[in-house]
Symmetry: C2
Subunit: 273 residues, 2 copies
DNA sequence: CGTCAAATTGATCGACTTCAATGCTCGTGG
DNA sequence: CCACGAGCATTGAAGTCGATCAATTTGACG
């Protein structure tokens, strides 16, 4: 409960009200505490890390937190707003690897190569915590509890990229979209927000890239799901009308020749009126 | 049969057999040293971790190191052999998320959920180091150097899943296969082995799942690349004949309307003789 | 109000999935 | 040791879904 409240406050009052933290590029006042709380630290462990040098940084919508190929200097954690993680091919094609919300780690995949294999671009005005690698690697025994939190965040990031595979594994485009919406719904639930109604913060192109289809196909797939009454879509506003049907859609790995679970709305696909 | 045994022996003996370490399921003698060396530790840091409780475990071809959904108990590092990382859908469809070779970490994505979101299945008789989570999280300041190594391995695992997206992002099946082969080639080079000639340790089905296409399509794509003289394929034995052409193939993000790099073999696609 | 990007909708064609049948490898057992 | 069988791999044929090109509408922002 208090989690929810804090989350909402952070989101509503995006320029955080903690006064001195608003320094242009790096107040360290209570940032450490805020970061640790966000990552789920126990109060006990926070004392020993009170002096953790944490930078805060704001990123405007469309700007990159870091570019692909740039040198890795810090680990970042999303404080507010959201990001897309992308890789850009030589010909300019932008592949979206995932989306990151509050408390998620950014730039972890740069630790092994010392240069970022992917870029992080803000989908809306955002704010992040930064932990310089030098500092991060040099906190001796005090760092134990922080390490645990970072491991968890990194593990979560790894699992997220597994979700990407889940989505792209589906054959039919509507199934991919359905799985994507299920992922979003689950994430919303984890944050204590409504899993039935949410605002998409990314463009159709971003979704298309994430799904591995053309952006026109995303539009059409939204249309199909909407016509079937599974969801209601108004631009970037999405409402899940029939969660069971959406789930049934997301299941189909192969051709949906078998009857698609007789519960709830019939999820037949022939919609050529 | 005898073939397999000889192969296994050769592989197991790869690290100069440190004698007592061959205990069935858990000698801790020099395993710690071996693990640290494998992960690239500096000799200096190895002294303080000499007593690290490291288990060794052998996994036979086709067996699972851990199953999807099982409780996370340890971090594993591949000592010998190779694995595929898979997620299985309710309908039994097996999605391959990646392949792991020597020195790679397995099971890292279980840290956040405490249960494995993916399974690791040995592609051949294999051997791993195991680090129990209790032990891992409880090495105070001495763990600093180990943490650095584990972070690097985990970061590498995250980047690998980005490669998965790269592959599945391609529109044409031959491009996906070409990218996959480039990945393999790069990995071989990193290990100091020939980047032009290698043995595929996974089935065509596994490749197909990784690429996100039907396994028949993988066969056909191999055929196309072979007919063009880009590679030579004999069952699971692959030889890259024209690395530049393979690279050119791997580039194509969109339809190959522009001339595909006039160097080397012409990489046109119309092969309807 | 005017501009530009985002989003929707339509039409065409090619590539991939799917079904089906055969050849090949390799491990097991006769 | 050889022959058999089960999974792996290749090849063929047909139907379909989605990529692409193209045109229009909507929406956001100055």
């Amino acid at each position: 409960m208090s989690n929810v409240i804090r989350l909402v406050e952070a989101r509503m009052a995006m320029p955080p009200a903690s006064g001195r933290c608003n320094v242009r590029m790096g107040g360290e006042c209570n940032s450490a505490q805020e970061l640790l709380l966000m990552l789920g630290a126990e109060p006990l462990s926070m004392l020993e890390l009170a002096s953790l040098p944490v930078l805060t940084r704001r990123v405007r919508a469309g700007d990159a937190l870091f570019h692909e190929g740039s040198a890795a200097e810090a680990l970042h954690f999303v404080r507010a707003g959201s990001f897309k993680i992308v890789r850009t091919a030589e010909d300019g094609y932008e592949q979206v690897l995932g989306f990151a919300d509050r408390a998620e780690v950014l730039g972890f995949d740069a630790l092994c190569t010392a240069t970022h294999p992917s870029a992080a671009i803000a989908l809306e005005d955002a704010s992040v915590f930064g932990l310089h690698l030098r500092d991060f690697f040099e906190l001796g025994e005090h760092g134990a509890s922080l390490h645990r939190l970072v491991y968890r965040a990194a593990s979560s990031a790894l699992a997220s990229r597994g979700d990407l595979a889940d989505v792209m594994a589906a054959v039919a485009a509507e199934v991919r979209l359905a799985r994507f919406l299920m992922q979003l719904s689950r994430r919303m639930a984890e944050r204590g927000q409504s899993p039935r109604r949410f605002h998409l913060r990314m463009t159709r192109r971003d979704i298309a890239s994430y799904l591995g289809v053309a952006h026109e196909t995303v539009s059409r797939s939204f249309g199909v799901l909407a016509r079937l009454g599974v969801v209601r879509v108004d631009n970037r506003e999405v409402e899940v009308m029939d969660m069971a049907a959406l789930h049934a859609f997301a299941m189909n790995t192969r051709r949906p020749f078998d009857e698609p679970d007789p519960s709830s709305v019939s999820a037949r696909r022939s919609m050529r009126a």
